[in-house]
C-alpha cells in the first residue's frame, strides 16, 4: 500500500532505514492483538496460551527454513541491535568470562554501530580490537582477514550487506577462514534477508543477526541464529522467565513474531523479482545522476553489490545544505541510527572519502513499493539541488 500523503508530498527512498509493511503482514499481526485473537501469553499453561505458543513455534520453523537453519537455532530478540549485542557480548562473556585480558576481536570499521559499540565495550573490559582492513569498495579482503586472525582472536564480526553502501561481503569464504582458525564469526545480516540467498548451515556461520523492519516486517523484532552443531553458546543479556531456552527472557511478542515471519516469507519468495526490479531502478537513477552531474562518485562495489542501495557522493556541495534542500525526498546520508548526529558517515570515511565528500553523500534505498516515478522524481530533485548549490559554492567554481 502506498501512503497517499507520501505520494503527494514526499518520495520515500529510505527502505534500508525502515520499510512499510504489506497488507497481509499487518493482517496477520492484527489477528494476534485483540480479545478475539491470539493474544494469550505463550508461556501460559492453558488452551489459549498453548495456541499462542504453537503459533510462535510454527513461526520459528518457517523462519528457520527460510534461512537454512533448524528451529532450535533461532532466538527471538527485540531487533538486530539486541541480536548483535547478544551475539558479541554474550559470546565474549560466555567464552572469556569477565577477565578477558589478551583476547582479541576482529571487526571492520564499516560495521553498524550496534556491532561497533559492543566491541568498544569489550575493549573497555580488556579485549583487543583488530580493525579488518577494507578496500576502496568496502570489501574485506580474504587474505588480510586470514592474516589478522591470530591465536588470541576469539571473535570476529562481519556484516553481510552493508547498510550504507549495499556492498556484499564474501561471508562463505570468511566463515571458512574463521572456522579454520577457530574464530567465532558473527554475521550481521540485518540488511541481507530478501536481498540475496543466504544459508546459515551451508555457509557454516556460527551466529547471524536479523531485523524484521528491514525486510517489510515490524519494528521491534529480530532474531539471532545460534549454530547448534558445533554448538555456540552465549551468556544472556536479559534474565527472568527463561523464555527462549533461558537465552532471552521476556514475554514473547506473538504478533511481532508472526509479522516478522510473514514478511520474511514474502521477501524470500519475491527475491528474484525484487532484485531485477531494484537493478533496474538503481541503474536508472545512477545513469540520470551521472548524465546530469559531473563529479558524482559511486560508493559501492562493482560486483558484490546489493541493488537495493545506491550511495553517491556529490563533490562541491555542502552535505547539510543538500539535505535541507531535499525536503520532499526521504533519503539518508548514512545510517538512520547515526543520522541524528551531524557527523559525516564513518563508513564512507573508512572507504577513503574525505569529510566533505562523506558528508555530501546520499543513500538511496529501494523497496518492493518503489517505482520508476519515484526514481525519476528523486533524480530530478537531486539534480536540481546539486546544481543550485554548486552554482552558489565558491568551492565548486574553484574545482570547475
Amino acid at each position: 500500500m502506498r501512503p497517499v500523503y507520501l505520494r503527494a508530498e514526499m518520495i520515500y527512498l529510505d527502505y534500508a532505514a525502515s520499510a512499510p509493511l504489506r497488507e497481509e503482514v499487518i493482517e496477520a499481526m492484527t489477528r494476534c492483538l485483540g480479545v478475539d485473537g491470539h493474544f494469550a501469553n505463550p508461556s501460559s499453561d492453558h488452551g489459549p496460551g498453548r495456541a499462542s505458543a504453537l503459533l510462535v513455534e510454527q513461526a520459528r520453523e518457517r523462519f528457520a527454513a527460510l534461512i537454512g537453519a533448524k528451529p532450535q537455532e533461532i532466538i527471538w530478540t527485540s531487533g538486530a541491535t539486541e541480536a548483535n549485542n547478544l551475539a558479541l557480548l554474550g559470546a565474549a562473556e560466555f567464552y572469556a568470562g569477565t577477565g578477558a585480558d589478551g583476547q582479541r576481536i576482529a571487526v571492520a570499521k564499516t560495521e553498524h554501530k550496534s556491532v561497533l559499540d559492543p566491541c568498544r565495550q569489550l575493549a573497555l573490559r580488556g579485549w583487543k580490537l583488530d580493525w579488518l582492513p577494507t578496500d576502496a569498495q568496502g570489501l574485506i579482503e580474504t587474505e588480510s582477514f586470514a592474516g589478522l586472525l591470530g591465536e588470541q582472536t576469539a571473535l570476529a564480526s562481519c556484516m553481510l550487506v552493508n547498510n550504507e553502501t549495499g556492498v556484499i561481503q564474501d561471508i562463505p569464504a570468511l566463515a571458512e577462514l574463521a572456522a579454520e582458525r577457530q574464530v567465532l564469526l558473527h554475521v550481521d545480516a540485518a540488511q541481507a534477508l530478501g536481498k540475496l540467498d543466504l544459508h546459515c548451515q551451508r555457509w557454516n556461520v556460527p551466529m547471524m543477526s536479523f531485523s524484521a523492519h528491514k525486510f517489510g516486517g515490524p519494528k521491534g523484532i529480530g532474531a539471532l541464529y545460534l549454530r547448534q552443531r558445533p554448538p555456540v553458546k552465549v551468556r544472556p543479556l536479559m534474565f527472568g522467565g527463561g523464555q527462549e531456552r533461558g537465552l532471552r527472557s521476556g514475554t514473547l511478542a506473538v504478533h511481532q513474531i508472526v509479522g516478522l515471519v510473514r514478511a520474511a516469507e514474502l521477501a524470500v519468495a519475491e527475491l528474484e523479482r525484487n532484485l531485477g526490479h531494484w537493478q533496474q531502478l538503481r541503474q536508472r537513477l545512477w545513469r540520470s545522476l551521472q548524465d546530469a552531474l559531473p563529479q558524482c562518485l559511486l560508493n559501492g562495489a562493482d560486483e558484490r553489490q546489493s541493488p537495493h542501495v545506491l550511495n553517491v557522493s556529490f563533490a562541491g556541495v555542502d552535505g547539510e545544505a543538500l539535505r535541507a534542500d531535499l525536503d520532499g525526498l526521504a533519503v539518508s546520508s548514512g545510517s538512520a541510527c547515526t543520522s541524528e548526529h551531524a557527523e559525516p558517515s564513518y563508513v564512507l570515511r573508512a572507504l577513503g572519502r574525505d569529510d566533505a565528500l562523506a558528508d555530501a553523500s546520499l543513500r538511496f534505498s529501494f523497496g518492493v513499493q518503489s517505482t520508476v516515478e519515484d526514481i525519476d522524481g528523486a533524480a530530478q530533485q537531486v539534480i536540481h539541488s546539486v546544481r543550485r548549490l554548486r552554482a552558489l559554492s565558491p568551492l565548486w567554481e574553484d574545482a570547475a
Binding site: 508530498e9 512499510p20 508461556s43 492453558h46 488452551g47 553498524h112 521491534g220 543479556l237 511478542a253 526521504a330
Partner: protein, 382 residues
C-alpha cells in the same frame, strides 16, 4: 472461553490497536531518520512517551522505552555497580528481578534477599537492618505482586532505602493502571512498566528513571533513548503502549471498581467452599487478583480441568508455568509445599462479567466434586 489470566497478559484494547494501525501501514519512517517521515515517527514516539509518563506521574524525559518489563527490570539492576555494590531484592519478586539479580551477583555484586511475612509484605524494619551506608546499594521491591496481588508499602520502603542512600527500584508492571502512581512524589528512583499488562501490545515496556540515576546500558549502538537503550524504536508498539496508558489513566477508577465488584463476588463464592484458602486476603491487594489454595488438590490437575471447561486461569506467574514446581511467592510467604502446590490465581479484566464469575464458581465446585470423591461423599468436615 472465559479468560481469567489478565496478570499473564491482556488483550490489546480496540483503541490501542486502532492507534497502532497507521504506524503499521501508512507511516513507516524510522524515528531516527531526519527526513519528514522520520520526524513524524519521532513525534509519535514522543507523544507516547508523554502518555506513558502521565500514567505514573512522571515526566516524559524520564521514560526509557524497552522491549518489555523484563528488559526494564534487568536494566534497572544495572544502575548500581562498583566496589562492594549490593542488591537488596524482595523474596517474592518476579523472575525478571530475581534472575537478573542473581546474574548480577555472579558478576560480583552482593545479593541480599528481603524476606516477606505470611501476607507477602516486607517490613520496613527488616529492610532497614539490612541496609548499609558505606557502599552503593539498590533496593528492588515490586509495587504489586503478580501472583498474590499484594501491594507493598512502597512509600515507606522507598523512604527507608533512600534515607540510607540506596537507590529504590520498583517493578510496577502489575501496579500500573490498577493503582494511582505518583512517580514524582514517590521515594522511587526507578520504575518498570510493561504495555501488555495494561491492554497494550507485547514487546514494549519502559523503565522510568529519575534523572540523577546513572545506568550502564545493556544494549549498545545507535544512541537511542538518550544513549541508554540502543535499537530502532518499536514505533507501533510504543504508540499502542501510549494509547493503552492513556486509557488506563482515564479509566483507572472505573476499571478497578469493575474488577473489584467481580472479585468480591468471586471471593464470596469461594468462602462457601471449605477447601479454599485465600492468600493474603487481609492485606491490600490490587483489585483484579485473587490467589487461593485448594487443600488436597494440585494446581496442574485443576488447571487442566478448568482448561477442558474453557476457563483460562493460572497457578502463578506465566513465566513459571509448566515447571511443575510450586511458586516461590507462596513458599516465601511461609506456606508449605503442598499448599503452595495447590494454588490457583484468578486475575480479572475489563471484559469479564459476573456471569463468568458465577460459571467459574460452579465449574470449580463441579471439579472439586469430581476430583475429590471423599469430599463429595461428605467424609471431610466442612
Amino acid at each position: 472461553m472465559i479468560y481469567f489470566d489478565h496478570n499473564a497478559t491482556t488483550p490489546v484494547l480496540p483503541e490501542a490497536a486502532a492507534a497502532m494501525q497507521p504506524w503499521l501501514s501508512e507511516h513507516y519512517g524510522n524515528p531516527s531518520s531526519v527526513h519528514r517521515a522520520g520526524r513524524l515517527a519521532r513525534q509519535a514516539v514522543e507523544e507516547a512517551r508523554e502518555q506513558v509518563a502521565a500514567l505514573v506521574g512522571a515526566q516524559a524525559s524520564e521514560v526509557i522505552f524497552t522491549s518489555g518489563g523484563t528488559e526494564a527490570d534487568n536494566l534497572a539492576l544495572h544502575s548500581v555497580g562498583g566496589l562492594g555494590a549490593r542488591l537488596l531484592v524482595g523474596a517474592t519478586e518476579h523472575a525478571a528481578v530475581l534472575e537478573a539479580a542473581s546474574a548480577r551477583a555472579g558478576q560480583g555484586l552482593e545479593l541480599d534477599i528481603l524476606p516477606v511475612d505470611q501476607n507477602g509484605l516486607i517490613a520496613q524494619s527488616s529492610l532497614a537492618e539490612r541496609l548499609r551506608r558505606d557502599v552503593p546499594q539498590l533496593v528492588s521491591i515490586m509495587w504489586a505482586n503478580n501472583e498474590s496481588g499484594v501491594i507493598q508499602d512502597i512509600a515507606a520502603l522507598g523512604d527507608c532505602a533512600q534515607r540510607a542512600g540506596a537507590l529504590m527500584h520498583t517493578d510496577a508492571v502489575q501496579a500500573a493502571g490498577k493503582l494511582p502512581i505518583d512517580f514524582a512524589a514517590s521515594p522511587v528512583d526507578l520504575l518498570s512498566l510493561s504495555a501488555h499488562k495494561i491492554y497494550g501490545p507485547k514487546g514494549v515496556g519502559a523503565l522510568v528513571r529519575k534523572r540523577h540515576v546513572g545506568i550502564a546500558p545493556m544494549l549498545r549502538g545507535g544512541g537511542h533513548e538518550g544513549g541508554l537503550r540502543a535499537g530502532t524504536e518499536n514505533l507501533p508498539g510504543i504508540v499502542g503502549f501510549g494509547a493503552a496508558a492513556r486509557s488506563a489513566r482515564l479509566e483507572l477508577e472505573q476499571r478497578q471498581a469493575h474488577v473489584l465488584g467481580l472479585r468480591t463476588r468471586l471471593e464470596a463464592g469461594l468462602a462457601q467452599m471449605p477447601q479454599v484458602r485465600l492468600f493474603a486476603a487481609s492485606v491490600p491487594r490490587v483489585a483484579n487478583t485473587c490467589q487461593f489454595g485448594l487443600q488436597g488438590f494440585q494446581s496442574e490437575a485443576l488447571l487442566m480441568a478448568f482448561d477442558q471447561r474453557g476457563i483460562a486461569v493460572a497457578s502463578g506467574s506465566a513465566c513459571h508455568a509448566g515447571s511443575g514446581k510450586p511458586t516461590h511467592v507462596l513458599l516465601a510467604m511461609g506456606y508449605d509445599e503442598d499448599t503452595a502446590h495447590s494454588a490457583i490465581r484468578v486475575s480479572l479484566g475489563q471484559q469479564n462479567t459476573a456471569a463468568e464469575v458465577d460459571r467459574f464458581l460452579s465449574e470449580l465446585d463441579d471439579i472439586l466434586r469430581q476430583q475429590a470423591p471423599a469430599y463429595a461423599a461428605g467424609l471431610f468436615a466442612s
